[in-house]
């Protein structure tokens, strides 16, 4: 299956991608498995979305899909079917904070 992911603009620049990117997945996608695949394909993103060591989501980033905020879900919770089917993207969003 192919998953669609939309990064915040600064991370798109860092990863040298425009717009959405696509990731091939072999199993039911979760936040953890999507980030694993994302970091494998785009190693420059390691540490920018989740901490290198603790694997915790960086505080000013959130995960949205299908109109739902999934940021506080377990990273191993299966993502909605629309994500797995590729009809909806997983949105990684930077908080509107600071100036």
């Amino acid at each position: 299956m192919t998953i669609r992911v939309l990064l915040p603009p600064h991370l798109r620049t860092l990863a040298h991608v425009n717009g959405e990117l696509q990731l091939g997945m072999n199993a039911q996608p979760t936040i953890r498995s999507v980030l694993d695949a994302l970091e494998a394909a785009y190693p420059m993103l390691c540490g920018t979305i989740r901490d290198h060591v603790t694997q915790q989501r960086r505080p000013f980033l959130r995960f949205f899909a299908c109109g739902e905020d999934l940021s506080h879900e377990s990273p191993d919770t299966p993502l909605p079917a629309a994500i797995a089917e590729g009809t909806e993207p997983l949105l990684i969003v930077g908080a509107i904070a600071g100036g």
């Binding site: 915040p8 603009p9 600064h10 991370l11 620049t13 860092l14 990863a15 040298h16 970091e39 494998a40 394909a41 785009y42 190693p43 420059m44 390691c46 540490g47 920018t48 979305i49 901490d51 290198h52 060591v53 960086r58 000013f60 980033l61 930077g94 908080a95 904070a97 600071g98």
Partner: protein, 395 residues
């Protein structure tokens, strides 16, 4: 013909300013890494085309960038686009943005907490790289001073980083505490005559020295007096803002402390105050003339509560006597209504025969003097707030 390349880190990207040896007509390139805080950009003296940059963000964490063509193009060493993070056999390849504190039983055991603002102990948490200091001998070796305060080193051109944990582990680490800007290791000075000797400074812990290439460390704060800490003469706890030396005489150090301009003639074993006739001895930057070891520059800032020049007049002060006797330098600098700051990494000198002095402000100006500070002019006026200024003298 000689030329200079000024490397500027700002709150919203990096800029590279170039000019020939006359330093009158400048080309401005950038912004690079748009929208990110660029805490420091510095080139290797061994290979001037190799430049390292610390790119950081409260949202996305730390990234290290490297250029091998003088700043025209940049990559993250060890993590180019499309390459796997693992090499043959599944071993991890370089991860240029990975700074992990040493917690090994052998060397990292005492390195778990430091003092927090409220006096309690707080775990070390990596936040960002404040300062990058390329080796004076090897283009692949570079040091990184980070927040929370620790010293890291890369020996593969920035691909991977390893903590020199003898610094945090030497004994005083649990007594270090953050300054207003965080607990940052912001100054790294390499002794050009003694490869083993490294000076670093931490806010708010003080100055430290290694004589064995970073393996072991000792505090060098004797003579510092800080009225705002419980023991004004404590071994550690001083808010050192910047240290500078002249390469021909590396045992002589100059320091801008939170308050007080200081000097040591014995590698930091003992400091004495040389604030002399400065209108205020608070400030952040300090640097030494390229050819005159007794000529020192500071930018006095009104106070720790008012981070701007006295009376709204931006002034550099120069001492030609190694401190105590200071001369106001004002020609070409704002005479009124100037309320910017000059941050600790935002002054540098070039090595041309007529030494050039450079500094950047939180108002986005970068000022240059091609005559050792006698006259000044802005290179650029409207950059984002300047965090750091370095200069390379190129042939």
């Amino acid at each position: 013909m000689s030329k200079v390349r000024v490397l500027v880190g700002t709150k919203k990207g990096a800029f590279i300013l170039t000019a020939d040896g006359k330093r009158q007509n400048w080309e401005v390139a950038g912004p690079f890494f748009t929208g990110w805080e660029i805490y420091h950009v510095k080139g290797s003296s061994v290979d001037p085309n190799r430049i390292f940059a610390s790119q950081t963000s409260g949202w996305f964490g730390q990234v290290i960038q490297r250029s091998d063509d003088g700043g025209k193009t940049w990559t993250q060493p060890g993590t180019p686009p499309g390459e796997s993070t693992t090499g043959p056999g599944g071993m991890p390849k370089g991860e240029s943005n990975k700074f992990v504190y040493d917690t090994s039983d052998k060397t990292g055991k005492p390195l778990t907490t430091h003092q927090f603002y409220d006096g309690t102990q707080h775990p070390w948490e990596f936040k960002r790289v404040w300062h990058l200091e390329p080796s004076l001998n090897d283009p692949d070796t570079v040091y990184a001073g980070v927040e929370d305060a620790a010293l890291f080193r890369s020996t593969d051109g920035g691909k991977s980083w390893h903590e020199l944990s003898g610094l945090r582990g030497h004994g005083t680490g649990p007594r270090w505490q953050p300054g207003a800007g965080g607990m940052c290791l912001h100054t790294i000075v390499l002794d050009p005559k003694n490869q083993g000797r490294i000076y670093i400074a931490i806010s708010a812990a003080g100055a430290f020295r290694s004589d064995d290439g970073g393996a072991t460390w000792r505090p060098i704060n004797k003579g510092l007096h800080s009225q705002y800490i419980p023991d004004p003469n404590a071994e550690v706890g001083h808010c050192v803002h910047r240290i500078a030396l002249h390469g021909s005489r590396p045992d002589v150090l100059f320091m801008q402390k939170h308050w007080d301009v200081m000097r040591s003639d014995d590698g930091g074993n003992l400091w004495k105050e040389v604030s002399g006739n400065l209108p205020t001895d608070f400030g952040f930057v300090i640097d030494v003339h390229a050819h005159e070891p007794e000529t020192v520059y500071v930018v006095p800032i009104k106070s720790d509560g008012e981070h701007f020049p006295m009376d709204g007049k931006l002034r550099v002060y120069r001492s030609r006597t190694g401190g105590n006797e200071w001369q106001e330098l004002s020609k070409g600098l704002p005479e009124r209504n100037c309320y910017v700051n000059v941050l600790r990494d935002a002054m540098a000198v070039d090595k041309l025969d007529s030494c050039g002095i450079y500094f950047g402000t939180t108002g986005g100006q970068v000022y240059a003097s091609a005559d050792s500070g006698d006259t000044w002019a802005p290179i650029v006026r409207d950059l984002p707030a300047v965090l750091s200024v370095e200069v390379q003298t190129l042939q």
